[in-house]
């Protein structure tokens, strides 16, 4: 790692810490900085409500934002490299669609399947399990296909087709769902960072770490894959095994994130591009940690904006990620005039 990268990473880390504290201190309710720090270190605040808001709402929300931003960014990076396609991302591969289908079955399926689903529906974990199962099943399907079809482009298209099929099933379920169920499904689609308890956050982070670990293991094969599959094979890379590990990492990251926070748009696709533009490299040793930091920072900023500081209102996080993020990518591309890939 050259010196300039070290400085960049140091700067990004500092920005991340700053964004983290800004995110915690800003919200709909004005809480003085002193009270924020008091809550964080566990001493008493003027109002009981503040203590709860800081330690049980804003803190887990900020941590969730970091996990979601970095995890989606990394899964996007892995997909883009694996498929050597700048448009790839967890959404494109059908992983997020699989999760959506799982959730749709739980929420909207009660009308079709009755009792069994209705009893499951009551638990929040059922949504998490359904989303994970859904993305896992789509992943298995993609993997089975990837064994038969060697062409990564074909897999990408098959992923898109899976997304279409799941979308079609979701529409059928929506048609038969009741107004309340539809409402519930739509609310899930808005995405949510602030609804996790500490225990849920713990489970989330364990699976997240596993995904990150698999990604770190894949760094070498990712760099080799950039040279093209045939070249990678000639270099002695076990392409099937690497592909499996990369897809597993993506599925773990994107699947859990969608399960816990809902389908968050844009981040998975755009963060790797922003990072490549800024760092101007395709070395995954640099890209992977950079995407991690960038994803976390962008997500924290998006969440701070979604909270509309000092107003009573709040916006759905999913809208903000696209609204804020997409123009940034356009601006970067226009400025640099070409895509670094």
């Amino acid at each position: 790692m050259t010196l300039s990268y070290k400085y960049s990473f140091l700067a990004l880390t500092l920005i991340l810490i700053l964004c983290f504290f800004v995110n915690i201190s800003l919200g709909s309710v004005y809480i003085p900085i002193k009270a924020v720090f008091n809550s964080l270190v566990g001493s008493a605040t003027e109002q009981d409500a503040w203590q709860h808001i800081i330690t049980n709402y804003r803190l887990p929300k900020a941590l969730t934002a970091i996990l979601v931003g970095s995890g989606l960014g990394i899964s996007g990076l892995l997909m883009q490299t694996l498929f050597r396609n700048p448009l790839a991302g967890p959404f494109v591969l059908g992983i997020s669609s699989g999760a959506s289908l799982g959730v749709a079955l739980i929420i909207l399926g009660t009308g079709l399947f009755g009792g069994v689903f209705a009893s499951l529906f009551i638990s929040k974990w059922s949504v998490v399990i359904a989303a994970s199962l859904g993305s896992f099943l789509v992943l298995i399907a993609v993997l089975v296909v990837s064994i038969k079809v060697r062409d990564t482009m074909a897999i990408l298209i098959i992923g898109l087709m899976f997304a279409s099929i799941t979308a079609a099933i979701v529409s059928v379920l929506s048609y038969f769902g009741s107004a309340e169920q539809l409402q519930q499904y739509i609310f899930w689609g808005f995405g949510s960072l602030g609804n996790l308890s500490w225990y849920e956050l713990f489970v989330f982070s364990v699976i997240f770490c596993l995904g990150i670990l698999l990604s770190i293991i894949s760094i070498k094969s990712l760099n080799t894959l950039l040279l093209g599959e045939n070249y990678a094979i000639s270099l002695g890379l076990n392409i099937k095994r690497s592909r499996l590990i990369i897809i597993a990492a993506t599925s773990l990251l994107a699947g859990t994130i969608t399960a816990f926070a809902g389908p968050i748009a844009f981040i998975g696709l755009a963060i790797p591009h922003i990072t490549r533009q800024v760092f101007n490299t395709s070395n995954h040793k640099i890209l992977l940690p950079a995407v991690f930091l960038f994803g976390a920072v962008v997500m924290l900023i998006c969440d701070s904006i979604a909270q509309l500081p000092n107003s009573d209102y709040t916006l759905p996080i999913n809208a903000i990620t696209s609204l804020i993020g997409a123009p940034v990518v356009i601006w970067l591309l226009v400025r640099k005039r070409k895509m670094v890939f």
Binding site: Q47, H52, N56, I122, Y175
Partner: protein
């Protein structure tokens, strides 16, 4: 030439005269149906026929609809300019299709339930009398409200379809209208007060020539409502109220001008957002709601959550409210009919007196000792 000038002059004079005579030419003998609260419709009685005017079928609607209501005998003698009206309806109605459960109580209260021949989503209907008719196969299922099974509906050939619209775009209703079955948009849900919503029973009364019955039913409901309201004002203690629930990160709750808020006000409570305004529900952040309502005494209607466990599962933050800790949460979702329809959504509009009494019983239990709440149950 002189003749020609005289002729032109005569025309001029007569045309002037016609101008001034226009207002007098308008039928003045129309008798307006008395409405105390409802603003969305009016009925003018011209003795041989009535004109029903629907003014506000959906929020901010610019269009109003006019229908002629006429009996068979007079219809044979009279002709109307078709373009002036949105439908000519022969009444009393023999066969009707309604599309919202809120229309059901009116039919039952007016003893007209036997005229109902079809409904979209019959499972939502809870009225025992009408459920019996559904079980006997006398009321056809019409599918989903947004896409009514047009063929079945046409085969039923009702005299009128009572629809409702979120806006003016409902293709199904257009198809029904084209096939000659008039569709009346019912705007009871747009009314801004509980009694105005209830007054729509008079609209149904007109369809059935049962204006007097409708009037006396409404008067009883109004009397009960106002008496209950008066009773509630006798106590000084105003419990603080939280309402709605959080979905994703957004807390949805009724604004201060909504009928829900008016009912809470009439029940002499301190609804924490009673001073807010606007259309639709409030969409607030958790932080705002928590700071304001952490210690609220009572939590009314936490959306469609059916148990304390479900509320806790949806978000652990819910458990931090005093109302949750003290189990002071009341919901309407657990009072359902045989096939799962929520009773409040069916009867709540028509019987605001019962809703108000329920709220008084919850908030001031000492006032209505022997009263058993009709819609609301504590969340368990």
């Amino acid at each position: 030439m002189k003749k020609a000038i005289f002729f032109l002059f005569t025309i001029f004079v007569f045309s002037c005269k016609n101008e001034t005579a226009k207002p007098i030419a308008k039928p003045v003998d129309g008798h307006q149906l008395e409405l105390k609260y409802a603003k969305g419709f009016s009925v003018t009685d011209y003795s041989t026929f009535k004109v029903l005017n629907i003014k506000n079928p959906w929020p901010d609607s610019e269009k109003s609809y006019r229908y002629v209501l006429i009996n068979k005998e007079n219809a044979a003698k009279t002709t109307f300019v078709k373009d002036e009206f949105d439908g000519i309806i022969i009444n009393p109605i023999k066969k009707i299709v309604v599309t919202s459960t809120t229309h059901i109580p009116a039919l039952e209260l007016l003893n007209a339930e036997e005229t109902l021949v079809g409904f979209p989503g019959t499972d939502f209907i809870s009225s025992e009398k009408i459920r019996m008719r559904i079980d006997e196969g006398k009321i056809r299922e019409l599918g989903k409200n947004e896409s009514i099974n047009t063929e079945v509906l046409l085969s039923l050939n009702p005299n009128v379809v009572i629809g409702f619209g979120i806006d003016g775009n409902n293709k199904t209703f257009e198809t029904i209208k084209k096939s000659g079955i008039p569709v009346i948009y019912n705007g009871d849900w747009v009314e801004d007060s509980p009694l105005a919503k209830a007054e729509w029973i008079k609209f149904f009364g007109t369809l059935y020539h049962k204006e007097k019955e409708a009037d006396s039913i409404f008067n009883t409901i109004e009397k009960n409502y106002l008496e209950a309201k008066k009773l509630a004002q006798t106590v000084k203690n105003k419990p603080t109220i939280l309402s709605g629930a959080m979905h994703s990160d957004i807390w949805y709750l009724p604004n201060g001008t909504s009928t829900e808020a008016q009912l809470l006000k009439d029940a002499n409570t301190n609804y924490l957002w009673q001073n807010s305004q606007g259309s639709g529900s409030l969409k607030l952040s958790f932080e705002t709601v928590f700071t304001k309502a952490k210690d609220a005494d009572i939590w009314i209607n936490p959306s469609n959550y059916t148990s304390l466990k479900a509320l806790e599962n949806s978000s652990s933050h819910n458990t931090m409210f005093s109302a949750f800790i003290n189990k002071n949460i009341y919901t309407i979702t657990n009072t359902t009919g045989k096939t799962g329809g929520v009773l409040y959504y069916e009867l709540g509009f028509a019987r605001p007196d019962l809703v108000l009494k329920d709220l008084i019983k919850i908030c001031h239990p000492e006032l209505l000792k022997d009263y058993k709440p009709f819609f609301f149950k504590p969340l368990e």
